[in-house]
Amino acid sequence: MLTVSGCATPEGDPSLYRDEAVSTLSAAESSVVTVRIVLTTRLRDRTFGRAADDAVTTAETSLSSTAGTFEGLQPPRGADAVRQQATQLLSDAEDTVAAARIAVRRDDRAAMRQALVAVAGVAARLDRAPEILP
């Protein structure tokens, strides 16, 4: 009986899961704000297209890895709302960063300006995450 219970997936603590979500969203915010800085710098023509592309691509890779790790966690009972909100935020962040990468790689100034607005919005939501997560 003891052996069988030892093999079961631990249920986990909802408050620890929430802490993990906050920490993940903070790491995601770091990647998103990096992209915001790169877009601003590129739009002011203060960085090279290839350097901007590399910085955005690296931030996107980091963001995907951060999001993937969190999404792979088993949420404890009672933490589904936290998971739902956090994964939604992460998904929005990934979408806006992908749009920024496409715009930078195409050197499309109008799309970069649009992406900058979207990225700034997601960054602000990520910044407020510790307060708005249930």
Partner: protein, 409 residues
Amino acid sequence: MKKLFAVALGILTAIGGFVDIGDLVTNALVGSRFGLSLAWVVAVGVIGIIVFAEMSGRVAAVSGRATFDLVRERLGPRIGLANLLASMGVTFLTFIAEIGGVALAIEIATSVDEVLWVPVVAAALWIVLWRVRFAVLENAFGLVGLALVVFAVALWKLDPDWMDLWAQVTSPRPGANETWTSYSYYAVALFGAAMTPYEVFFFSSGGVEEHWSEKDVGTMRLNVFLGFPLGGLLSLSIAAVTAVVFLPAGVQVESLSQVPLPVAIALGKIGLAIALLGFFAATFGAACETGLSVGYSMAQFYGWSWGKFVAPRQAARFHAVVLLATVVAVAVLLTTVDPVAVTEYSVVFSALALPLTYLPILVIANDPDYMGERVNGWFANALGSVYFVVIVVVSVAAIPLMVLTRGGQ
């Protein structure tokens, strides 16, 4: 005039050659997370490397032999082997990180994945190590590495609140969202980055390559006493620009592509181009130094003919070790391991290996049979002993802190 030129060149190459991938990544990361609250660690590390580099340079100048050439003879094969395994292991890890750093620097300029650049970089590196004269190799990359002064210029151009930066320097404690454990972990990493073992390996072996004698001790000391502190200031300027741009924005540096962004903001494309040139020179120069150091340590331990002052045919085993190290480093990097992660681990493992690297220097620099009248004085011994205690404490703390912080997270 010729002497003055040699002194100036030595100081400039010491400044430009001080920063490597470990300093670049660790200082940028620490600046973005802790501001300048860990600046004191850079100061402590720079004084430490000055103390031991001066000793190892003096040993090379007086005895005509590199410090680690004497370890096996003076301390016996067992301690010599422990020293070889620890120092060479860490130097090899640093070598991998430096090659990855060069590839990352080229990736930023080309946006072609660094993994594709690794074999190209390694081939170029091996040709340089095989064909280029020691003095050219040391001076060229050291001088071009001075391009990193662009970080100090960028800091001035960013027009930060200098009082706020000074307040960070004088508040040696973690910020609101950080813990003492992570603060201590990065203190160990910064210390390891400043006192990387290969620096003394290369410094003392380089003294033998350049045929230093007792009359060169004064020049060597000027290079160390002026070049290293100014190199340390260069490291601090990297931490300062990331503290100014990234810390208030909540951005944590985790890739090399983020490091030149503050320079681009402050100075535009020209500044960015100079920073990338500095990255390339600093990492390629350090890759040369670490690659040679792997060969030096092995050849010196086994008593083989070594160095670039002899024809490659006469130092075949030394060059074979350098080539083998390059091939294995490429194989490791082609597994797509993140060079920044390798760098972060290399500086912490450097901290772990410090006692085994620096104890032999202290012992040999105190031995009148080798040093004659140039044996350590009371001041060098007092500093050396205090630093040895610090090094042991840092070494003991390195792994527990790495585990507790999950690698600094």
